[in-house]
């Protein structure tokens, strides 16, 4: 199948700063693709280039087999964009936000009205149709932004940090909606610095840091390749973590000391905990959990994702 997005050596420089440093990736139709990385990694800049609102400084980029340099309006006509910061017209009603936006794509008013009603239902906002957008909660505004991005029936839906700033319940409602889109075959491109979000939404992702791709694969593949099946988190108190880690050397192959806890990587977490206790160490708390993309990122960059 022809990829809907192809980037080769894609580069973006702002003066001396190289925000995106020659990255390569492809996104297939119907795929849910993620860019995972800390703030400032170059994810949003990449999204802006793919979204044909920022010109590249180097490399090749094709979206729907068109070049964003020459066919910006054509590409944008096929995208749905959910920006990092909501830019809804807060003075307009919920429904009017959709109607106005649909017109930017040259859709007839009748089509805008029909789609607006369907999308409000999809976004679970039917009861808020006539409410001023300013009066919506953060989660509702986010869902409205997603509904707005779908008004042109896009081939690709691009979501930049879709759930940043939302409470856990609102995040889950949003994920559910996005999951439905994914099931319906919409191509999703998501940036996030949340591991759980990437694991929930992405079939495949690239880990980005300092404008470069550090690794690529499905969440499960990345975890298998760069981490162990389980992780033991032990807390000894911030002053004693480093000492304890020294004494635990050899208990398992890899140990990471973070400011507030020590992570021990192993396929069998429980047996590691037993070995630590056998050394006479007494952690204040201990937790055995499955490995996550956070561990992958730590392994790849030596840093935690959210600093």
């Amino acid at each position: 199948m022809t990829p809907v997005i192809t980037a080769h050596g894609l580069t973006k420089r702002f003066g001396d700063l190289t925000a995106v440093d020659g990255i390569d990736f492809e996104v297939a139709a119907g795929e849910s693709f993620g860019l995972l990385g800390p703030n400032g990694a170059g994810k949003s800049t990449t999204m802006r280039m793919v979204g044909a609102v920022s010109t590249r400084s180097g490399g090749d980029l094709r979206v729907l087999d068109l070049d964003p340099e020459t066919h910006g309006p054509e590409i944008r006509s096929q995208l749905g964009v959910v920006p990092q910061e909501d830019n809804l017209d807060t003075e307009l009603t919920v429904r009017d936000n959709l109607l106005v936006y649909g017109r930017y794509f040259g859709l007839p008013r009748r089509v805008c009205a029909e789609r607006a009603d369907e999308l409000l239902e999809f976004a679970q906002l039917t009861e808020k149709t006539k409410v001023k957008t300013d009066d919506l909660s953060g989660g509702m505004k986010r869902r409205l932004t997603i509904a707005r991005a779908l008004i042109n029936d896009p081939r690709i839906l691009m979501l930049d940090e879709p759930t940043t700033g939302l409470d856990p319940q609102a995040r889950h409602v949003l994920w559910d909606r996005l999951f439905r889109l994914k099931e319906a075959g919409t191509t999703l491109v998501v940036t996030t610095h949340y591991m759980d979000e990437a694991e929930q939404l992405c079939d495949r992702l690239v880990v980005v840091d300092h404008g470069r791709i550090m690794a690529e694969g499905s969440p499960a593949e990345l975890i298998r390749r760069y981490s162990t099946r389980e992780v033991v988190e032990l807390r000894f108190g911030s002053t004693r973590n480093a000492d304890a880690a020294e004494r635990m050397a050899g208990v398992t192959e890899r140990i990471e000391v973070l400011p507030d806890r020590v992570l021990l990587y192993a396929d069998d977490g429980e047996s590691v905990v037993e070995k630590v206790l056998a050394l006479g160490l007494e952690p204040t708390t201990s937790l055995v959990r499955r490995s996550s993309l956070e561990d992958v990122f730590l392994r790849l960059t030596g840093r935690s994702l959210i600093e």
């Binding site: 068109l66 006509s77 096929q78 830019n87 930017y104 040259g106």
Partner: protein, 283 residues
């Protein structure tokens, strides 16, 4: 329109088709949206559009003019009523006032506070189309204000020839653009509000209103201050307005010259605004 490859793929073809209308009418879609959001303050637009001329024309026509025994201005056929002399300039100032409203805080808000411009920016609409749409909507508001002003001028008997005078509201719109488009370019270039617009209001708009030959002919002003009129869209537009109402005063600049100055200011401002919008939205 073709892609670089010989036959576009189905997805590319769909994109090519979908962008035909927005490439042509994107500016109008933006104007539609802008006009829709003006509804939110529609009453302010109507009240100031009708109330302001009513107050000025009553104040000057029935108040100030009653105390003036001597005529301050000449027309081609001799002295002109004070209110007839002042009225075109008041209309021009009102149109420029609308531009001051729509092209300062509103533009900065679109980029910064409410970020409204970033929504159409992700659609097929281009930055120059976006700027054009904002301007077209403002032209609509200026036209409403100028036509309302003109109707009241006629009602107050403040127009020499009401038929040629019908063009005065259009000159008002041009005055608004000559002032407004350069201001729009400036507003779009500002990243942080440090009171710049208050300075524009105090040191550009107000002196322009007071020293543009609004209340007395520009050539009666000390020579050292006359340059304010020469660079002021209000003066150039007022002179055209007066020519349309009762004819040019002896020794006045040709109307074509005034028109050329206004068109030049609006043209340069428009090009600059389009460029600044593009630079700001396409980093």
């Amino acid at each position: 329109m073709t892609t670089t490859t010989s036959t576009p793929t189905a997805a590319a073809q769909r994109a090519l088709d979908a962008a035909v209308l927005p490439r042509r009418f994107g500016w109008w879609y933006v104007a539609e949206a802008q006009l829709r959001s003006m509804k939110a303050y529609g009453w302010t637009i109507v009240a100031s559009g009708v109330g302001q001329p009513l107050l000025y024309l009553l104040g000057i026509g029935l108040g100030l003019a009653a105390f003036l025994d001597v005529s301050v201005a000449e027309g081609p056929d001799g002295p002109v009523d004070y209110v007839t002399f002042v009225a075109p300039a008041l209309l021009m100032t009102a149109a420029v006032g609308v531009a001051m409203d729509e092209f300062t805080y509103a533009v900065m808000s679109g980029f910064k506070w409410r970020r409204l411009y970033y929504a159409p920016n992700a659609s097929p609409v281009s930055p120059p189309q976006l700027a054009t749409g904002v301007v077209v909507a403002c032209v609509g508001r200026m036209l409403f204000t100028a036509v309302a002003y003109y109707a009241l001028m006629v009602a107050f008997g403040a127009v020499g020839d009401p038929v040629t005078g019908l063009l005065i509201p259009l000159v008002g719109v041009l005055a608004g653009l000559a002032f407004g488009l350069p201001v729009m370019a400036y507003s779009a270039s500002i990243k942080d509000d440090r009171g710049q617009f208050a300075l524009v209001q105090r040191f550009v708009f107000t002196p322009m209103f007071l020293f543009s030959g609004t209340f007395y002919p520009l050539d009666t002003v000390p020579v050292a201050l006359q340059w304010i009129g020469w660079v002021s869209p209000v003066w150039h537009a007022s002179e055209i307005g007066r020519a349309l109402s009762y004819g040019s005063a002896p020794g006045a600049w040709p109307v074509g010259l005034h028109l050329a100055v206004l068109l030049l200011m609006a043209g340069v401002g428009g090009v600059l605004a389009g460029r600044v919008f593009t630079r700001r939205l396409r980093g």
